[in-house]
Symmetry: C2
Subunit: 230 residues, 2 copies
Protein backbone atom coordinates (compact mmCIF):
# COMPACT_ATOMS: atom_id res chain seq x y z
CA UNK A 1 0.00 0.00 0.00
CA UNK A 2 1.45 3.38 -0.88
CA UNK A 3 1.81 6.07 1.76
CA UNK A 4 -0.20 9.28 1.45
CA UNK A 5 -3.47 7.82 0.15
CA UNK A 6 -5.42 10.94 1.14
CA UNK A 7 -4.99 14.60 0.20
CA UNK A 8 -4.20 15.49 3.83
CA UNK A 9 -0.97 13.53 3.90
CA UNK A 10 0.29 14.26 0.38
CA UNK A 11 3.45 16.29 0.93
CA UNK A 12 3.22 19.49 -1.06
CA UNK A 13 6.49 21.11 -0.09
CA UNK A 14 9.92 19.52 -0.38
CA UNK A 15 8.53 16.72 -2.52
CA UNK A 16 12.05 15.44 -3.21
CA UNK A 17 12.26 14.69 0.53
CA UNK A 18 8.97 12.79 0.63
CA UNK A 19 9.13 9.01 0.78
CA UNK A 20 6.53 6.61 -0.51
CA UNK A 21 7.85 3.37 0.91
CA UNK A 22 5.91 1.92 3.84
CA UNK A 23 9.10 0.25 5.12
CA UNK A 24 10.57 3.70 5.65
CA UNK A 25 7.55 4.69 7.75
CA UNK A 26 8.13 1.64 9.94
CA UNK A 27 11.86 2.40 10.16
CA UNK A 28 11.23 5.96 11.40
CA UNK A 29 8.64 4.85 13.95
CA UNK A 30 10.74 1.93 15.17
CA UNK A 31 13.90 4.02 15.58
CA UNK A 32 12.31 6.71 17.79
CA UNK A 33 10.79 6.55 21.27
CA UNK A 34 8.66 9.67 21.75
CA UNK A 35 5.89 10.89 19.48
CA UNK A 36 4.08 14.22 19.56
CA UNK A 37 0.32 13.84 19.66
CA UNK A 38 -1.75 16.77 18.42
CA UNK A 39 -5.41 17.08 19.36
CA UNK A 40 -8.01 19.84 19.37
CA UNK A 41 -9.04 20.84 22.87
CA UNK A 42 -11.41 23.78 23.51
CA UNK A 43 -11.04 24.86 19.84
CA UNK A 44 -7.25 25.13 20.09
CA UNK A 45 -4.53 22.65 19.18
CA UNK A 46 -2.62 20.91 21.98
CA UNK A 47 0.61 19.01 21.33
CA UNK A 48 1.82 16.47 23.88
CA UNK A 49 4.89 14.21 24.01
CA UNK A 50 3.62 10.64 24.29
CA UNK A 51 4.99 7.11 24.45
CA UNK A 52 4.02 4.68 21.73
CA UNK A 53 4.61 1.31 20.12
CA UNK A 54 3.94 -0.03 16.63
CA UNK A 55 2.54 -3.36 15.50
CA UNK A 56 1.97 -3.82 11.80
CA UNK A 57 -0.06 -0.86 10.63
CA UNK A 58 -1.27 0.09 14.11
CA UNK A 59 0.31 2.69 16.36
CA UNK A 60 -0.54 2.30 20.05
CA UNK A 61 -0.44 5.50 22.11
CA UNK A 62 -0.27 5.20 25.83
CA UNK A 63 -1.03 7.44 28.78
CA UNK A 64 -2.97 7.88 31.98
CA UNK A 65 -6.74 7.94 32.24
CA UNK A 66 -6.09 11.08 34.31
CA UNK A 67 -4.75 12.92 31.26
CA UNK A 68 -7.54 15.21 30.01
CA UNK A 69 -5.89 15.59 26.60
CA UNK A 70 -5.41 11.87 26.04
CA UNK A 71 -8.98 11.22 27.09
CA UNK A 72 -10.16 13.95 24.71
CA UNK A 73 -8.30 12.14 21.92
CA UNK A 74 -10.20 8.94 22.64
CA UNK A 75 -13.63 10.34 21.74
CA UNK A 76 -13.63 9.67 18.01
CA UNK A 77 -11.91 12.90 17.01
CA UNK A 78 -9.12 13.45 14.48
CA UNK A 79 -5.54 13.56 15.76
CA UNK A 80 -2.12 14.05 14.25
CA UNK A 81 1.01 12.25 15.44
CA UNK A 82 4.53 13.28 14.49
CA UNK A 83 7.75 11.36 15.13
CA UNK A 84 11.06 13.02 14.34
CA UNK A 85 14.66 11.87 14.59
CA UNK A 86 17.29 14.58 14.16
CA UNK A 87 20.39 13.17 12.49
CA UNK A 88 22.54 16.29 12.06
CA UNK A 89 22.84 19.97 11.26
CA UNK A 90 23.54 21.04 7.69
CA UNK A 91 25.98 23.97 7.60
CA UNK A 92 25.51 25.45 4.13
CA UNK A 93 27.53 28.20 2.44
CA UNK A 94 24.41 30.38 2.64
CA UNK A 95 22.23 30.95 5.69
CA UNK A 96 19.24 30.23 3.44
CA UNK A 97 20.31 26.66 2.72
CA UNK A 98 21.12 25.81 6.33
CA UNK A 99 19.04 22.78 7.21
CA UNK A 100 18.76 19.65 9.30
CA UNK A 101 19.25 16.02 8.39
CA UNK A 102 16.30 14.17 9.84
CA UNK A 103 13.71 11.45 9.44
CA UNK A 104 10.13 12.27 10.28
CA UNK A 105 6.74 10.66 10.02
CA UNK A 106 3.36 12.34 10.37
CA UNK A 107 0.20 10.28 10.83
CA UNK A 108 -3.40 11.49 10.59
CA UNK A 109 -6.45 9.63 11.77
CA UNK A 110 -9.15 9.05 14.31
CA UNK A 111 -7.78 6.82 17.08
CA UNK A 112 -9.88 4.17 18.76
CA UNK A 113 -9.67 3.64 22.52
CA UNK A 114 -8.49 0.13 23.40
CA UNK A 115 -10.86 -1.03 26.14
CA UNK A 116 -11.00 -4.83 25.91
CA UNK A 117 -8.73 -6.04 28.77
CA UNK A 118 -6.99 -8.69 26.62
CA UNK A 119 -6.39 -6.27 23.80
CA UNK A 120 -5.24 -3.58 26.20
CA UNK A 121 -2.75 -5.94 27.79
CA UNK A 122 -1.45 -6.82 24.33
CA UNK A 123 -1.17 -3.15 23.35
CA UNK A 124 0.70 -2.34 26.56
CA UNK A 125 3.08 -5.17 25.79
CA UNK A 126 3.76 -3.62 22.36
CA UNK A 127 4.37 -0.18 23.92
CA UNK A 128 6.54 -1.59 26.75
CA UNK A 129 8.65 -3.70 24.39
CA UNK A 130 9.18 -0.67 22.17
CA UNK A 131 10.28 1.53 25.08
CA UNK A 132 12.20 -1.13 26.97
CA UNK A 133 12.70 -4.38 25.01
CA UNK A 134 12.74 -7.35 27.36
CA UNK A 135 10.90 -5.59 30.18
CA UNK A 136 7.54 -7.27 29.65
CA UNK A 137 8.78 -10.60 30.97
CA UNK A 138 11.40 -9.18 33.37
CA UNK A 139 9.11 -6.76 35.23
CA UNK A 140 5.88 -7.40 37.11
CA UNK A 141 2.97 -7.25 34.70
CA UNK A 142 0.01 -4.91 35.21
CA UNK A 143 -2.70 -5.66 37.76
CA UNK A 144 -6.36 -5.18 36.94
CA UNK A 145 -6.29 -1.84 38.78
CA UNK A 146 -3.18 -0.64 36.96
CA UNK A 147 -4.70 -1.69 33.66
CA UNK A 148 -7.81 0.35 34.45
CA UNK A 149 -5.69 3.43 35.21
CA UNK A 150 -3.96 3.19 31.84
CA UNK A 151 -5.42 4.60 28.64
CA UNK A 152 -4.40 3.14 25.31
CA UNK A 153 -5.36 4.45 21.88
CA UNK A 154 -4.95 2.58 18.59
CA UNK A 155 -4.25 4.68 15.52
CA UNK A 156 -4.14 3.26 11.99
CA UNK A 157 -1.02 4.04 9.94
CA UNK A 158 -3.17 4.17 6.81
CA UNK A 159 -2.83 7.93 6.37
CA UNK A 160 0.84 8.74 6.89
CA UNK A 161 3.70 10.61 5.28
CA UNK A 162 7.45 10.33 5.72
CA UNK A 163 10.12 12.92 5.05
CA UNK A 164 13.86 12.39 5.14
CA UNK A 165 16.82 14.64 4.51
CA UNK A 166 20.35 13.32 4.42
CA UNK A 167 23.65 14.23 2.83
CA UNK A 168 25.65 17.42 2.29
CA UNK A 169 24.33 20.99 1.88
CA UNK A 170 22.34 21.87 -1.24
CA UNK A 171 23.94 25.24 -1.95
CA UNK A 172 23.40 27.35 -5.07
CA UNK A 173 26.14 26.99 -7.71
CA UNK A 174 27.24 30.60 -7.24
CA UNK A 175 27.88 29.96 -3.57
CA UNK A 176 29.74 26.70 -4.20
CA UNK A 177 32.23 28.52 -6.44
CA UNK A 178 32.16 31.93 -4.78
CA UNK A 179 32.12 31.31 -1.02
CA UNK A 180 35.43 30.63 0.70
CA UNK A 181 34.07 29.41 4.04
CA UNK A 182 33.37 25.89 5.29
CA UNK A 183 30.26 23.85 4.54
CA UNK A 184 29.26 20.38 5.64
CA UNK A 185 27.26 18.36 8.10
CA UNK A 186 27.62 18.00 11.87
CA UNK A 187 26.07 14.60 12.68
CA UNK A 188 24.05 14.11 15.85
CA UNK A 189 24.20 10.68 17.49
CA UNK A 190 21.73 9.33 20.03
CA UNK A 191 23.58 6.87 22.25
CA UNK A 192 22.68 4.86 25.30
CA UNK A 193 24.83 5.54 28.36
CA UNK A 194 25.83 3.27 31.23
CA UNK A 195 22.85 1.71 33.05
CA UNK A 196 22.27 3.24 36.50
CA UNK A 197 20.92 0.69 38.99
CA UNK A 198 18.14 1.84 41.32
CA UNK A 199 19.65 2.88 44.69
CA UNK A 200 17.06 0.69 46.48
CA UNK A 201 18.33 -2.44 44.71
CA UNK A 202 20.53 -4.93 46.63
CA UNK A 203 24.17 -4.70 45.48
CA UNK A 204 24.20 -8.20 44.03
CA UNK A 205 21.52 -7.68 41.37
CA UNK A 206 23.32 -7.56 38.01
CA UNK A 207 22.19 -5.45 35.07
CA UNK A 208 20.35 -8.01 32.90
CA UNK A 209 21.30 -8.82 29.28
CA UNK A 210 18.21 -7.14 27.80
CA UNK A 211 19.56 -3.84 29.17
CA UNK A 212 23.32 -4.32 28.71
CA UNK A 213 22.77 -5.49 25.13
CA UNK A 214 21.09 -2.21 24.30
CA UNK A 215 23.79 0.00 25.79
CA UNK A 216 26.87 -1.85 24.53
CA UNK A 217 28.88 0.87 22.77
CA UNK A 218 29.22 0.44 19.04
CA UNK A 219 31.08 2.63 16.53
CA UNK A 220 29.01 5.52 15.18
CA UNK A 221 27.14 4.37 12.08
CA UNK A 222 28.38 5.70 8.75
CA UNK A 223 24.85 6.10 7.46
CA UNK A 224 23.11 8.76 9.56
CA UNK A 225 19.79 6.98 9.02
CA UNK A 226 21.18 4.00 10.89
CA UNK A 227 21.72 6.22 13.97
CA UNK A 228 18.71 4.71 15.64
CA UNK A 229 17.64 5.33 19.18
CA UNK A 230 17.52 1.64 19.90
CA UNK B 1 6.65 35.99 35.96
CA UNK B 2 5.35 32.53 36.86
CA UNK B 3 4.72 29.92 34.20
CA UNK B 4 1.19 28.66 33.53
CA UNK B 5 -0.70 31.92 33.97
CA UNK B 6 -3.75 30.56 32.12
CA UNK B 7 -5.95 27.52 32.76
CA UNK B 8 -4.85 25.94 29.46
CA UNK B 9 -1.26 25.50 30.54
CA UNK B 10 -1.81 24.54 34.17
CA UNK B 11 -0.59 20.96 34.38
CA UNK B 12 -3.28 18.79 35.88
CA UNK B 13 -1.59 15.43 35.74
CA UNK B 14 1.84 14.62 37.14
CA UNK B 15 1.89 17.84 39.10
CA UNK B 16 5.02 16.75 40.93
CA UNK B 17 6.76 16.85 37.56
CA UNK B 18 5.54 20.33 36.68
CA UNK B 19 7.99 23.19 36.98
CA UNK B 20 7.19 26.79 37.71
CA UNK B 21 10.55 28.37 37.08
CA UNK B 22 10.88 30.38 33.88
CA UNK B 23 14.62 29.63 33.77
CA UNK B 24 13.74 25.95 33.32
CA UNK B 25 11.53 26.79 30.36
CA UNK B 26 14.46 28.61 28.76
CA UNK B 27 16.81 25.70 29.56
CA UNK B 28 14.53 23.16 27.84
CA UNK B 29 14.06 25.35 24.76
CA UNK B 30 17.75 26.23 24.52
CA UNK B 31 18.90 22.61 24.84
CA UNK B 32 16.74 21.24 21.99
CA UNK B 33 16.76 21.92 18.26
CA UNK B 34 13.43 20.75 16.86
CA UNK B 35 9.98 21.73 18.07
CA UNK B 36 6.63 20.23 17.13
CA UNK B 37 4.14 22.83 15.95
CA UNK B 38 0.46 21.95 16.20
CA UNK B 39 -2.13 23.83 14.19
CA UNK B 40 -5.72 23.26 13.11
CA UNK B 41 -6.06 22.75 9.35
CA UNK B 42 -9.41 21.80 7.76
CA UNK B 43 -10.89 21.13 11.23
CA UNK B 44 -8.19 18.57 12.10
CA UNK B 45 -4.96 18.95 14.04
CA UNK B 46 -1.67 18.86 12.13
CA UNK B 47 1.67 18.43 13.92
CA UNK B 48 4.87 19.40 12.11
CA UNK B 49 8.53 19.27 13.13
CA UNK B 50 9.88 22.82 12.86
CA UNK B 51 13.10 24.74 13.47
CA UNK B 52 13.07 27.52 16.02
CA UNK B 53 15.09 29.96 18.08
CA UNK B 54 14.40 31.78 21.33
CA UNK B 55 15.10 35.36 22.33
CA UNK B 56 13.88 36.45 25.74
CA UNK B 57 10.22 35.51 25.93
CA UNK B 58 9.76 35.15 22.18
CA UNK B 59 10.00 31.90 20.23
CA UNK B 60 10.70 32.35 16.52
CA UNK B 61 9.41 29.57 14.26
CA UNK B 62 10.83 29.32 10.79
CA UNK B 63 9.76 27.73 7.54
CA UNK B 64 9.01 28.26 3.87
CA UNK B 65 6.28 30.49 2.51
CA UNK B 66 5.45 27.42 0.40
CA UNK B 67 4.40 25.47 3.51
CA UNK B 68 0.61 25.51 3.64
CA UNK B 69 0.58 24.55 7.31
CA UNK B 70 3.04 27.23 8.38
CA UNK B 71 1.13 29.83 6.40
CA UNK B 72 -2.11 28.64 8.02
CA UNK B 73 -0.46 29.19 11.41
CA UNK B 74 0.31 32.81 10.50
CA UNK B 75 -3.33 33.89 10.19
CA UNK B 76 -4.01 34.82 13.80
CA UNK B 77 -5.02 31.33 14.93
CA UNK B 78 -4.06 29.46 18.11
CA UNK B 79 -1.13 27.04 17.95
CA UNK B 80 0.62 24.72 20.36
CA UNK B 81 4.36 24.09 20.34
CA UNK B 82 6.05 21.21 22.17
CA UNK B 83 9.77 20.69 22.71
CA UNK B 84 10.94 17.42 24.25
CA UNK B 85 14.35 16.10 25.19
CA UNK B 86 14.47 12.40 26.10
CA UNK B 87 17.14 11.77 28.74
CA UNK B 88 16.67 8.07 29.45
CA UNK B 89 14.39 5.08 29.91
CA UNK B 90 13.19 4.19 33.40
CA UNK B 91 13.16 0.41 33.90
CA UNK B 92 10.90 -0.10 36.91
CA UNK B 93 10.18 -3.31 38.81
CA UNK B 94 6.63 -3.14 37.47
CA UNK B 95 5.59 -2.55 33.87
CA UNK B 96 3.16 0.06 35.20
CA UNK B 97 5.92 2.30 36.58
CA UNK B 98 8.11 2.08 33.48
CA UNK B 99 8.70 5.63 32.35
CA UNK B 100 11.02 8.04 30.61
CA UNK B 101 13.33 10.68 32.01
CA UNK B 102 12.74 13.78 29.96
CA UNK B 103 12.40 17.54 29.85
CA UNK B 104 9.52 19.00 27.93
CA UNK B 105 7.95 22.38 27.33
CA UNK B 106 4.55 23.10 25.83
CA UNK B 107 3.62 26.60 24.68
CA UNK B 108 0.18 27.88 23.70
CA UNK B 109 -0.57 31.09 21.88
CA UNK B 110 -1.45 32.94 18.72
CA UNK B 111 1.74 33.55 16.73
CA UNK B 112 2.32 36.76 14.80
CA UNK B 113 3.91 36.64 11.35
CA UNK B 114 7.18 38.59 11.23
CA UNK B 115 6.97 40.68 8.06
CA UNK B 116 9.12 43.76 8.62
CA UNK B 117 12.38 43.01 6.72
CA UNK B 118 14.66 44.24 9.52
CA UNK B 119 12.77 42.26 12.15
CA UNK B 120 12.66 39.19 9.90
CA UNK B 121 16.41 39.35 9.38
CA UNK B 122 16.87 39.59 13.13
CA UNK B 123 14.54 36.64 13.78
CA UNK B 124 16.36 34.53 11.18
CA UNK B 125 19.62 35.38 12.92
CA UNK B 126 18.16 34.10 16.20
CA UNK B 127 16.96 30.86 14.55
CA UNK B 128 20.24 30.33 12.65
CA UNK B 129 22.39 30.94 15.72
CA UNK B 130 20.26 28.48 17.67
CA UNK B 131 20.59 25.78 15.01
CA UNK B 132 24.19 26.49 14.05
CA UNK B 133 25.93 28.92 16.41
CA UNK B 134 28.49 31.00 14.50
CA UNK B 135 26.91 30.44 11.09
CA UNK B 136 25.32 33.87 10.78
CA UNK B 137 28.67 35.59 10.25
CA UNK B 138 30.42 32.60 8.58
CA UNK B 139 27.79 31.93 5.89
CA UNK B 140 26.38 34.23 3.22
CA UNK B 141 23.45 36.14 4.64
CA UNK B 142 20.00 36.08 3.01
CA UNK B 143 19.23 38.06 -0.11
CA UNK B 144 16.01 40.03 -0.44
CA UNK B 145 14.55 37.20 -2.53
CA UNK B 146 15.56 34.52 -0.02
CA UNK B 147 14.11 36.63 2.77
CA UNK B 148 10.81 36.85 0.89
CA UNK B 149 10.70 33.06 0.47
CA UNK B 150 11.11 32.54 4.23
CA UNK B 151 8.24 32.65 6.67
CA UNK B 152 8.90 33.51 10.32
CA UNK B 153 6.38 33.44 13.15
CA UNK B 154 6.86 35.00 16.57
CA UNK B 155 5.19 33.22 19.49
CA UNK B 156 5.10 34.63 23.01
CA UNK B 157 6.31 32.34 25.79
CA UNK B 158 3.71 33.88 28.11
CA UNK B 159 1.54 30.76 28.24
CA UNK B 160 3.89 27.83 28.76
CA UNK B 161 4.36 24.77 30.94
CA UNK B 162 7.41 22.65 31.68
CA UNK B 163 7.57 19.05 32.83
CA UNK B 164 10.67 17.16 33.90
CA UNK B 165 11.28 13.65 35.13
CA UNK B 166 14.64 12.53 36.39
CA UNK B 167 16.05 9.95 38.76
CA UNK B 168 15.37 6.28 39.54
CA UNK B 169 12.09 4.33 39.17
CA UNK B 170 9.18 5.20 41.44
CA UNK B 171 8.08 1.66 42.24
CA UNK B 172 5.47 0.67 44.82
CA UNK B 173 6.90 -0.45 48.18
CA UNK B 174 5.63 -4.00 47.67
CA UNK B 175 7.58 -4.29 44.45
CA UNK B 176 10.76 -2.81 45.94
CA UNK B 177 10.78 -5.51 48.61
CA UNK B 178 9.13 -8.32 46.63
CA UNK B 179 10.62 -8.20 43.12
CA UNK B 180 13.98 -9.86 42.55
CA UNK B 181 14.71 -8.43 39.10
CA UNK B 182 16.71 -5.38 38.07
CA UNK B 183 15.48 -1.81 38.09
CA UNK B 184 17.19 1.40 37.11
CA UNK B 185 17.69 3.97 34.39
CA UNK B 186 19.29 3.61 30.97
CA UNK B 187 20.46 7.14 30.09
CA UNK B 188 20.23 8.44 26.53
CA UNK B 189 22.91 10.87 25.38
CA UNK B 190 22.68 13.17 22.38
CA UNK B 191 26.20 13.74 21.09
CA UNK B 192 27.69 15.54 18.13
CA UNK B 193 29.75 13.37 15.78
CA UNK B 194 32.72 14.23 13.59
CA UNK B 195 32.03 17.09 11.15
CA UNK B 196 31.68 15.89 7.54
CA UNK B 197 32.97 18.46 5.04
CA UNK B 198 30.94 19.01 1.87
CA UNK B 199 32.41 16.91 -0.98
CA UNK B 200 32.38 20.01 -3.21
CA UNK B 201 34.69 21.89 -0.82
CA UNK B 202 38.40 22.30 -1.74
CA UNK B 203 40.59 20.01 0.40
CA UNK B 204 42.34 22.89 2.15
CA UNK B 205 39.26 24.40 3.84
CA UNK B 206 39.53 23.56 7.54
CA UNK B 207 36.51 22.89 9.78
CA UNK B 208 36.12 26.26 11.55
CA UNK B 209 36.25 26.66 15.35
CA UNK B 210 32.51 27.40 15.68
CA UNK B 211 31.86 23.85 14.44
CA UNK B 212 34.80 21.97 16.03
CA UNK B 213 34.06 23.61 19.40
CA UNK B 214 30.56 22.16 19.33
CA UNK B 215 31.61 18.60 18.52
CA UNK B 216 34.60 18.30 20.85
CA UNK B 217 33.87 15.18 22.87
CA UNK B 218 33.29 15.78 26.54
CA UNK B 219 32.58 13.24 29.29
CA UNK B 220 28.87 12.41 29.69
CA UNK B 221 27.33 14.81 32.20
CA UNK B 222 26.45 13.33 35.59
CA UNK B 223 23.20 15.28 35.71
CA UNK B 224 20.95 14.05 32.88
CA UNK B 225 19.41 17.51 32.61
CA UNK B 226 22.77 18.90 31.60
CA UNK B 227 22.85 16.52 28.60
CA UNK B 228 22.08 19.34 26.23
CA UNK B 229 21.99 19.04 22.48
CA UNK B 230 24.31 22.01 22.09
Amino acid sequence: MPLSPTPRSVIKRGRERAQTDRAQLYAVLDSCLVCHLGIIHDAAPVVLPTGYGREGDTLYLHGSTGSASLMAASRGVPVSVAVTRLDGIVYARSVFHHSMNYSSAVIHGVPAPVTDPEEKLHALRVVTEHLAPGSWTHARQPTRKELAATAVLALSLHDASVKLRSGPPGDDDDDVTGHDGWAGVLPLHHMWGTPESCPLLPDDVPVPPHVTRRSTPSPPPTDPHAAAHR
